[in-house]
Amino acid sequence: MISFKNVTKRYGEEITAIDDVDFTVEEGKIVVLLGPSGCGKTTLLRMVNRLESISEGEIIINGENSKDLDAIELRRKIGYVIQSNGLFPNMTIEENVMLVPDLLGWSKKDKRERFKYLMKLSGLDADDYGKRYPHELSGGQQQRIGVVRALAADPPVMLMDEPFGALDPIIREKIQDEFLQIQREVKKTILFVSHDIDEAIKMADKIVLLRDGKIMQFDTPSKMLAHPKNEFVSQFFGKDRAIKGLSLHTVANLQEIIGLGPVDETIQDTKTINVHQDLRNTLSMLLNQEADQVIVKDDNGENIGTITIDLVQKYLHFEIKGKISASQEG
């Protein structure tokens, strides 16, 4: 768990880079720091492992005040991933990944085992890639190594500074998925910096939206999209935020709440989608008019109903309206 308590950073008298920031990253959750460039998201991240100093307030990491800990020890207990992967070109992949365990004095055997486990997580072959140098890997592979390197000494907390920012969109999406898969297994407490709204929506359990060092809103992605707190938040997510929000829901969610339409066996021109497909892609498919009927299949390949634009609209209506009335009551 990482708690920010009234954290402020000033440069001299005039400039306040971080202004009274207060929020908590729950154990095993991903919080994304989101905002336009210069909003202080990276500075805030770097204050956690003391690469930046704190002017006022405190950061509590798993019950310990970061100020009371030795900076070197603190950093070794926190996984750190940066945009340009930061791999050391003079070291092999294995040396790179096992750097922190090495600094911590792990035995050769423990390091070897851990390396094999981590490479399995990354989906790269340990024997094949271990002896290679970073420049012999593609950008996507380097970034995968950058991520597992941060996991090397099994730190409870991870800081990720736009880790997938330098990758092309297709690879980025793939690695995001892989990373979420890994996270389901390792359940780290993660603070993640991004300037990409779609990435934030996809990765975050909660988003901290920052502007000029102040928190504009701290909420789950769906709440932030459905109920932006102020003009800045709604503008930041854009007019299409309802569509962006659809990517948080799947056909299964829709089925649970309003149900699917019946299958019309007489229509020949049909397409099928999986029940776990997100609604954003589903809607896009429906809008493309690719077929007269779109049939939803479950994981066993059984037809369980059909989906139409009307149903998506109805669901969206329910989601937003439903939550507005709920929040008004509360």
Partner: protein, 217 residues
């Protein structure tokens, strides 16, 4: 051609001896220069103000003509009765080597990709671990380039040291000039050139051994 052959037949042992003297003088000077220059260059990366001053002084040293510097050394080292010979030549060569060695060490480390340094600090490396494991290995090609410059330059400058009695291949050239002996001048010059080429090649091999293939590209 016959004259050449006769000259070499008579003088070969002497040329070899002078070449060894020359190499020893330059090698000792470079070893001491490395012991001073590399730690100093590393230290300067942490002190910007001192870095500017030291690099300035080192640059000025290099602009002093070698014959003038040797001249200045004579009265200074006469105090300890070493006015001419090995000591003043050695000191002058150490001074001349400082600029390329300090500057390349300093620039090599300063120019390490800041993100790489950031990753090293962020992962919890102590200053000396960062230097030894990340910064120096990655700066190695630049540092070695400075060492090679210093060695080749010193092999040339050491020729002048013959004027203050430090021996070496300069003896052949200075004596050749005063005796108007063209064979002597040319054989001295060629020996110096060969020595420089060999030294540079050896250093290049060392550089390739000590810097990973990745960095040499």
């Amino acid at each position: 051609m016959e004259n050449w052959a006769r000259f070499l037949e008579v003088n070969a042992p002497r040329i070899l001896e002078l070449t060894i003297d020359h190499a020893v003088l330059v090698s000792l000077a470079i070893i001491v220069a490395l012991l001073i220059g590399i730690p100093l260059g590393i230290y300067l990366t942490t002190n910007q103000y001192l870095a500017d001053t030291v690099l300035q002084i080192a640059s000025i040293t290099l602009t002093i003509p070698s014959i003038a510097l040797f001249g200045v050394m004579i009265p200074i080292f006469s105090i300890i009765n070493q006015g001419i010979g090995f000591v003043p030549a050695f000191v002058a060569l150490v001074l001349y080597s400082q600029l390329p060695i300090i500057r390349n060490t300093y620039t090599g480390i300063k120019n390490i990709n800041p993100e790489m340094r950031d990753a090293a600090i962020g992962m919890g490396m102590k200053t000396h671990q960062r230097l030894l494991r990340v910064e120096i290995p990655n700066a190695m090609p630049v540092i070695m380039a400075g060492v090679r410059t210093a060695v080749v330059m010193n092999i040339g400058i050491a020729v002048i040291a013959a004027y203050i009695g430090a021996g070496g291949l300069g003896v052949l050239i200075t004596q050749g000039i005063s005796r108007n002996d063209i064979y002597m001048i040319i054989s001295g010059s060629i020996a110096v050139a060969i020595l420089a080429i060999i030294a540079d090649s050896i250093l290049l091999l060392i550089q390739k051994r000590f810097t990973k293939k990745v960095l040499a590209d």
